[in-house]
Symmetry: C2
Subunit: 344 residues, 2 copies
Amino acid sequence: MLDERNREILCAIVQSYINNPDPVGSRFITRKYAFSLSPASIRNIMSDLEEMGFLRQPHTSAGRVPTDKGYRFYVDYLCSNEQRHDDRAFFHEITRELESIKNDIDILLSEATRRLSNFSHYLGVALSPRAGSSTFSSIKLLKHRSNHVVTVLFTDEGLVRNKVVDVDFDLTQRDLNRIASYLNSEFYGHTLNEIRTKIVREMSEEKILCDTLISRAMRICREALSSPSGNIFISGFTEVLGLPDFSDIEKIKEISRAMEDKHLIIKLLDRFSESAGDEVQVVIGSENSLAGMKGFSIVAATYKEGSRPVGSVGVIGPTRMDYSKTIAMVDIVSKFITKVIEGK
Amino acid sequence: MLDERNREILCAIVQSYINNPDPVGSRFITRKYAFSLSPASIRNIMSDLEEMGFLRQPHTSAGRVPTDKGYRFYVDYLCSNEQRHDDRAFFHEITRELESIKNDIDILLSEATRRLSNFSHYLGVALSPRAGSSTFSSIKLLKHRSNHVVTVLFTDEGLVRNKVVDVDFDLTQRDLNRIASYLNSEFYGHTLNEIRTKIVREMSEEKILCDTLISRAMRICREALSSPSGNIFISGFTEVLGLPDFSDIEKIKEISRAMEDKHLIIKLLDRFSESAGDEVQVVIGSENSLAGMKGFSIVAATYKEGSRPVGSVGVIGPTRMDYSKTIAMVDIVSKFITKVIEGK
DNA sequence: GTTAGCACTCTCAACAGGAGAGTGCTAATA
DNA sequence: TATTAGCACTCTCCTGTTGAGAGTGCTAAC
């Protein structure tokens, strides 16, 4: 589709535009990248590339700017050539700084997003282990005031989550212990999603209605699981405001809206964590299926427990993003988190 | 210091500027507020008010704009006259929408800030009960993996907080129960701050070193209490971007920086919750002692448990803020939260 | 004390002109 | 046939000018 020379010129244009957000002209390319071609030839090629949809002109007599398709080509080219960005400095920073907070996965993720945004100047995002697909390890029930029960849920991924549950019946701590041990033996090793559907099914069968202990256990457990979406961490808004891509107030509103709609981002990251692939994934601008996100690019990867992806971490930024650097950084962070989770 | 007429004119100017962010001129005041004075007279008065520091001119031959001192006068005047803003609609919204989430104080606060920002178009903020000054109710310790303990801390204010603590010694659940009951009997009724200092003191005395059970208990407890600052909730950034006061990108950066520096806002709100007063408090622009906040106003109030303030809720916005409406709203929300906490 | 009148100042929007950058096309060249 | 030099053209952006509009401060009259 594109011969080698055109490929290189396209990449040079994208590269140059990423470094500096001015439309790039033919003259500039010849000077900077020395293809031993005259500006006129570059112009011809650029004209071809524009016709094929890789570039566009903001207006006649401006230089060219990559389209989303152009960025996509660039990213794929990057990956196939496996030119590693030099990321050792970042790697050391990350491992050194995050080494000390292994206990609490939430704090770890929140700090990780902070580093990501600091180094990339884009938005760092992370989704804590998805409650849905994580594995039930055990549950404890604690009596609290007259008619509240505190549930403490443990998963294999190291998640510990408590929840206050209203109960309309009176239970002693002894009752609660019995209920807990029932739930533990019943659900051990299942994913929370499985458990949730199981509860719904069993509660609709009438046999449950007879046995009040089990029925109560089910109701409490259902409540304990009732927040299916993991925590989300976003940071680096101020970083983003410094980028020339966000000098326009409308663009700022756009990303701020996207940021405040947590559900949107959760959905987005959830999609990533469904794919079990090992590589960092990149979604560029209009490739994004969510309406509010079509103006941005996402670079994200999953972190895993065993071979199963349990959550994701990544970066959201303008389509004019330093993909090479960002991909390397996200890769490092996701692998680091995986390592921490497995090491526990 | 100011006679009645001057007071009214000053308030009219502030009012008008709050409604519409154009410098207000003498002509406009005579037409809109009909003081049966000519523009020339108003001009004289305005000139006096400017000299006294209540108003300023963006440039010669522009109208006047209130200074922080001007806003301060307006707010005090408002309070002394006790002109209640009509807030019934908001009151009903709030009570209706938040009624259903009484269990979890964190969710309640996060929703409350959302409503506040939606209705005010400013930033809604809240600080969850300060761990420091809240009262220890009980603690449970749960064994988790080989060398982790999960601590679940309960306070009288309804806070439930868990934390994973590393331990370098092996303990059975039975040991943990003994430790927990020791801690419960030792610390019941004290504030977390008191407990913290107590632990520090006792750990420095050598007698602790002899008794490993107590020493271990102390160490675990210290970890359990180790995040002194409460959670903070901020919402409504997109709302703020719609205000004319934030059409300037520098101003946006300023508030975004303030927002991301959670510690700053925690400090700010903490200061509010130290004052035990019952009324909504207003800090205007430069009155603020924190550097990053001098460009904004804060309207906040504490919510209480018994008569003791435990946390705060409020609004951050531009100095050109609709103080009357905002004060009424913050008052309603803080009282509502107090009611919920006490009702538990 | 209040007001009419007036000169003055400052902002803002619209417009014009010129520099600069980059293009597309054409004709010459290797 | 691919490449290139040359050139006219287009578009943006910056700058300077100009006039309208709004508001002021001052002075003198009421």
